[in-house]
């Protein structure tokens, strides 16, 4: 496990989780679009970016975090996993506000834009993961020569 962990690093795990969350967000968008003509439907959205971002170490190094100084310490690097668990439950209702009768407003143009954006980001994430594996493969094959 340790060897594999060193081989893939933390980012492969994070990218995989991001892919999963993007797919979940996509399902919510599809549900909103399918129910576009349903009265009293609650418009939903999965917002995970900020939660996931907070779990990452701050590049400026200002963030305070727990440090383990001994191997026997309780593991503290489960931040990403915990953020993932929290992020997939962060479903927001009524993203476009409510009208005067208290029903959710549905905006098809913004919803489609969100769909396309999510789609593009999904593809980008897949691309990143593929490149990551490519680099590892390159290191393996070139190292053997």
């Amino acid at each position: 496990m340790d060897v594999l962990g060193k081989l893939f690093g933390r980012s492969v795990d994070l990218i995989g989780k991001t892919l999963d969350l993007r797919l979940k967000k996509h399902s919510h968008i599809a549900s909103n679009l399918a129910n576009i003509d349903t009265p009293n439907y609650d418009v939903k959205d999965l917002q995970f970016q900020k939660i996931l971002q907070k779990s990452l170490p701050d590049p400026s190094g200002n963030q305070l975090r727990m440090v383990s100084t001994n191997v026997r310490h309780m593991p503290v690097k489960k931040d990403v996993e915990r953020a993932y668990q929290r992020a997939q439950k962060n479903v927001v209702y009524g993203v476009y506000g409510r009208d005067e009768t208290g029903r959710d407003i549905m905006d098809i143009d913004r919803e489609i834009t969100k769909l396309v954006k999510n789609h593009l980001l999904y593809n980008t994430t897949v691309q990143m993961l593929a490149k990551k594996f490519e680099v590892i493969k390159y290191a393996i094959t070139e190292g053997g020569r």
Binding site: A30, N35, D37, I108
Partner: protein, 145 residues
């Protein structure tokens, strides 16, 4: 949660919009029908949309409900428009009353046309979502290359 969840959501949207389209066609084609089996002129039909749990095994449904109630859509019932019939003066019509007035169906051509456009746009929105799902699935298959 997988690609098939969002695909079946989009599919339910497609099928609901197609049902709506069928009803609009029925309204349009019966715009001048003065005789039906109930004895009165044709009444405009209206589809009622409501959210529907996803089809599939118990496990799938459980997962969908855990994922903050992702839901598809379906036409639960088709109701008749109770508004008044259009009355025109045409003494030569076989269904005219003794004063020469004929009751025509309460179908408004303009309203049906507008409904048809909305149904078409909603259908397209679902197609877009379905295509995006398909592309995402294909893209993630590229990881295997």
């Amino acid at each position: 949660m997988d690609f098939f969840t969002s695909m079946s959501i989009s599919a339910s949207g497609l099928s609901a919009q197609r049902t709506r389209m069928n009803i609009i066609s029925m309204n349009l084609s019966n715009m001048h029908t003065t005789r039906t089996s109930s004895g009165e002129p044709y009444r405009r039909k209206i589809p009622i949309f409501s959210t529907a749990p996803l089809k599939g095994s118990f496990g799938n449904r459980l997962e969908a409900s855990l994922a903050r109630k992702l839901s598809g859509v379906r036409v639960t019932k088709i109701v008749e428009d109770g508004s008044d019939f259009r009355v025109i003066y045409d003494p030569s019509h076989p269904d005219a009353d003794k004063f020469g007035y004929v009751k025509m169906p309460n179908v408004n051509l303009m309203r049906e046309m507008v409904n048809m456009l909305t149904a078409k746009r909603s259908y397209e929105a679902n197609i877009t979502a379905l295509n995006a799902t398909k592309n995402m699935a294909l893209k993630s298959l590229e990881l295997l290359k």
